[in-house]
């Protein structure tokens, strides 16, 4: 039986720049920054929460051949590699204002939805992130696919 989900991963184009953004700007903290020789194992986490870490991985050889690495980098910059993570804050409007002031690129301002209030942003490379404040209590998903689907955007 699987008992925990400890790591997820996102491709970044530059690990120093990633550190600046995820730690310096967003306010996550470094869990591990280790030069393993063959790779730099760099993980960040919500402050005080080592139970889930985000691995900031740079694509490249020998894990990927040069052409594949280029393709990954291209997809990251097109915003086509999905969502790097959804983060929870206690005051989404305040965090939004702070991050806007720091020049973070938002794709969506805080919006109220059936699951809470959240907003969308991008990391410097093109990866999508969400920051939100979940509704208290149980969330009820609306019925049926089509009728409710539009509410997501």
């Amino acid at each position: 039986m699987i008992t925990a989900h400890t790591h997820s991963q996102v491709y970044v184009l530059d690990q120093d720049e990633a550190l600046d953004f995820y730690v310096g700007t967003l306010g996550l903290e470094v869990n591990t920054d280790a030069n393993l020789g063959f790779m730099r194992w760099l993980t960040v986490q919500a402050p005080g929460h080592p139970e889930h870490q985000l691995l900031l991985e740079k694509p490249g050889p020998p894990a990927h051949d040069g052409e594949t690495a280029e393709q990954i980098r291209e997809l990251v910059t097109k915003g086509a590699l999905g969502m790097a993570g959804i983060f929870v804050v206690d005051d989404v409007h305040k965090v939004y204002e702070e991050l806007v002031a720091k020049g973070v690129e938002f794709t969506e301002e805080p919006t109220e939805r059936f699951y809470g209030t959240d907003c969308g942003l991008r990391d410097p490379f093109g990866n999508a992130l969400r920051i939100g404040q979940p509704k208290e209590g149980p969330v009820e998903f609306p019925e049926t696919g089509e009728v409710a689907a539009g509410d997501w955007s």
Binding site: E70, T77, K78, T107, R122, T144, G145, V147, G150, D151
Partner: protein, 141 residues
């Protein structure tokens, strides 16, 4: 290739995000090209190379998707919805909507309202966009 391509993509993504965010505004090519930091002609060509369709088409699809939502979920009139999602004439809204969805806004709304009356599994099976061509036939294409 490489760094220049990545930078190009990133600028195009910024313009595409602007479409997704500000679709209801009178977005035009000069505005979007400015966001992407390129000339207008270059912008249209590059956007298409990166995302597989022109910025105009992407904007139309975004507006139509929002209109579908409003037609289903609100009581607003078709004309109100047309302007709410950024179209500037009812004619171009109806034409574009019909071309993309396969049926006019009023028909779509009537059919979507009916959906609430049936169990979800039927709605799912019968409202799935078809690859068999009936939608186009029904719309007189």
């Amino acid at each position: 290739m490489s760094r220049a391509t990545e930078e190009r993509n990133r600028f195009m993504l910024r313009a595409r995000d602007a479409i997704d965010r500000d679709y209801a505004e009178p977005l035009d090519i000069p505005t979007l090209a400015r966001i992407a930091c390129v000339s207008e002609a270059h912008f249209i060509r590059t956007f298409r190379a990166v995302f597989g369709e022109t910025p105009h088409r992407y904007l139309q699809r975004r507006r139509v998707e929002r209109a579908m939502f409003l037609l289903r979920e609100t009581e607003s009139s078709v004309t109100e919805i047309c302007f709410d999602v950024g179209f500037r004439s009812l004619g171009s809204f109806t034409r574009t909507f019909t071309e993309i969805v396969g049926e006019p806004p009023t028909t779509y709304r009537w059919r979507a309202a009916d959906l609430r009356a049936v169990p979800a599994c039927f709605a799912k099976a019968w409202t799935r966009p078809s690859s068999f061509g009936e939608a186009r036939t029904a719309a007189g294409k």
